[in-house]
């Protein structure tokens, strides 16, 4: 396990708002890190810095031990940091294979006759999905025919095939039912087996607990702590995530203020 990315005292301000303050962490290869926190905890700011969408206001990022400045998502992608977003806005009418190769199309022939190698595109798509345990019925089928879970898996398989070493998954299971979520979580485990580092951003502690080796918990822009999987159960995780305000306490508080 090598350290892929290290953050040292990262901070990010948006005008007066401090979204992230003095967050230090490391993520290594072949591990799944669950990034947890309530809304506004700074999860999305943190992953946007890691994936090159935002620049930090303070602190620094190290990629494989060297200081790294990502000017764009493309920069991060070139180093091997791939982000798969919650809303996979891919074109449902385009075929699965065409979606898979988008942006990195295999070609053959030369000069004016250089053209897409669709046969290879289909073969790659089929092979990569099969390797991760999904049997594609037909890579030429429109993407719209795949389930939400299968689409998340396709996006992950695509990132891995094109050389991702750190995968950032932003709420990959939040819109999915139990079976579909299980499919994606199995896929995440498979990615770890292949030596990829995974940051799993989620609200769902059960999903995090199913695959994560370690948890990083943010609260109101600060690092609340990192915990090994063995140290905490799902119940404690929930408490940690919510901070002082558990759901019961919030409800009780509301009831009190209503009665006065």
């Amino acid at each position: 396990m090598d350290v892929l990315v290290e953050a040292r005292r990262l901070g990010r301000r948006f005008g007066k708002v401090i979204a992230l303050r003095e967050v230090s962490l490391t993520i290594s290869s072949a591990e799944v890190v669950g990034l947890l926190g309530d809304n506004g905890a700074g999860k999305s700011t943190l992953i946007k810095i890691l994936s090159g969408v935002l620049r930090p206001s303070e602190g620094m990022l190290l990629w494989e031990g060297r200081e790294a400045r990502f000017e764009s998502p493309r920069d991060a992608l070139d180093r091997g940091i791939a982000t798969v977003h919650q809303h996979l806005a891919v074109q449902p009418l385009l075929s699965v294979a065409r979606n898979f190769i988008l942006g990195r199309e295999p070609e053959r022939g030369w000069g004016p006759f250089r053209r897409l190698d669709m046969r290879r595109a289909r073969a790659i798509t089929e092979a990569e999905m099969a390797r991760m345990g999904i049997d594609l019925r037909d890579p030429a089928q429109p993407l719209g025919t795949m389930s939400g879970g299968e689409r998340q898996c396709l996006a992950i398989a695509r990132a891995l095939y094109f050389g991702a070493r750190l995968l950032i998954l932003d709420e990959p299971t939040s819109a999915l039912g139990v079976k579909q979520a299980a499919l994606v979580l199995r896929f995440i485990r498979q990615a770890r087996e292949e030596g990829v580092g995974v940051v799993l951003v989620t609200h769902n502690v059960h999903h995090a607990h199913a695959v994560a080796d370690r948890y990083i918990i943010l609260e109101r822009g600060r690092l609340r702590g990192t915990f090994q999987r063995a140290e905490v159960g799902t119940g404690e995780l929930l408490d940690l995530m919510a901070g002082a305000s558990t759901l019961e306490a919030e409800l009780a508080g509301r009831a009190r203020s209503d009665s006065t």
Partner: protein
């Protein structure tokens, strides 16, 4: 996630796909069967009044060809998720860029034609860049372009020539090698038809067999995710806008060099006719889906109906009613296809 329920068995999925398959193929088939229908109708009604005679066929082929040249480029742009409403004004501007230097300044025709194409590339580049930089809908940006370009064409033409028409181009263009590409026939087939078929073939190749074509689909489907996947979204858009401007210039060259005159009012409403042909051809207004072959048949429906009504002897005013009706049916059909395809996201 309505699909969650029936997901246990494989049967449900297989049926699902085959349904898609049929719809997908039908979307292009819509334009083809529409063209067959229109052809059959006018063959019966106006077949013996000249619709099926050789000059008759050439006449509707030429109308289809001129529109088809514009529609092919407009279809690519629409698949890429944008519109260009400045096509019609570009036709007038390019026509003047060809006619004025030839007639007023004594330029050789090839140089004037070259100037028009350079102008088109610059305007297409400007359209694309403004859309990229501002993030505004191209519908609005090119609507502004429609007026600016038309107004500038009228202004400059009157400033230079004192009129709004430039006649007498023909006597300068005889024997010019480049002008020959835009006039007359090739083995009896009008050059406009040759241009149309060649450009449609090129557009189809580009769209289905090249990396650029895949990018066009990706940009039109969702430009943000395409960008995240490494597609040079901005460059694709600029090239597509250059494509529509160049198509408008080819149209202008065909008209000016064939008629021998240019007029500042040329090309009005052509931007909408091009969009109509693309939509009848199966392109989605929201981008990300469509075909160049379908658009060929969209233009053919347009050409056959316009000339067919003329041959029947019915007042040609009714053509516009037919056109609007066809457009409505085509859009509803396309929308139906799209809704079926994205049903699992509902």
């Amino acid at each position: 996630m309505s699909r969650e329920f029936g997901n246990s068995g494989a049967d449900e999925r297989v049926r699902h796909i085959s349904l898609f398959r049929r719809l997908m193929s039908r979307s292009e088939l819509g334009a083809v069967s529409g063209a067959v229908l229109v052809f059959a109708f006018f063959s019966i009604v106006a077949g013996d009044q000249g619709f099926l005679s050789f000059p008759g066929i050439l006449s509707w082929m030429e109308v289809s060809a001129q529109l088809g040249i514009l529609a092919g480029a407009a279809a690519l742009l629409m698949i890429g998720g944008e519109f260009d409403l400045s096509i019609g004004s570009m036709i007038a501007a390019a026509g003047m860029a060809i006619a004025i230097p030839i007639v007023e300044f004594g330029w050789p025709p090839w140089a004037a034609i070259l100037l028009a194409f350079v102008l088109a590339l610059a305007i297409g580049y400007a359209n694309g860049t403004i859309v990229n930089r501002t993030g505004l809908p191209s519908f609005i940006v090119t609507l502004a372009g429609l007026f600016i370009l038309r107004g500038a064409t009228i202004g400059f033409t009157r400033l230079i020539t004192g009129r709004t028409q430039v006649p007498g181009v023909k006597r300068f263009t005889e024997g010019d090698p480049v002008a020959q590409l835009f006039t007359g026939n090739m083995h009896g087939i009008p050059v406009s038809v040759c241009w149309w078929l060649a450009l449609a073939a090129a557009a189809t190749w580009l769209l289905l067999r090249t990396r650029f074509g895949n990018w066009v689909f990706g940009v039109g489907g969702d430009s943000d995710s395409a960008r995240n996947m490494g597609v040079p979204v901005e460059r694709v858009r600029i090239l597509l806008f250059m494509g529509t401007a160049v198509a408008a210039t080819i149209f202008a060259a065909l008209q000016v060099l064939d008629f021998g005159s240019a007029d500042v009012n040329r090309g009005q409403l052509k931007e909408f006719e091009a969009i109509i042909a693309a939509v009848i051809g199966g392109c989605l207004l929201t981008g990300g889906y469509g075909s160049a072959i379908g658009t060929v048949f969209g233009a053919l429906i347009f050409g056959m109906a316009q000339q067919g009504i003329f041959f029947t002897g019915v007042n040609t005013d009714w053509f516009k009613v037919f056109l609007g009706g066809t457009l409505l049916v085509a859009v509803m059909f396309n929308n139906y296809v799209y809704r079926r395809a994205t049903r699992s996201e509902d």
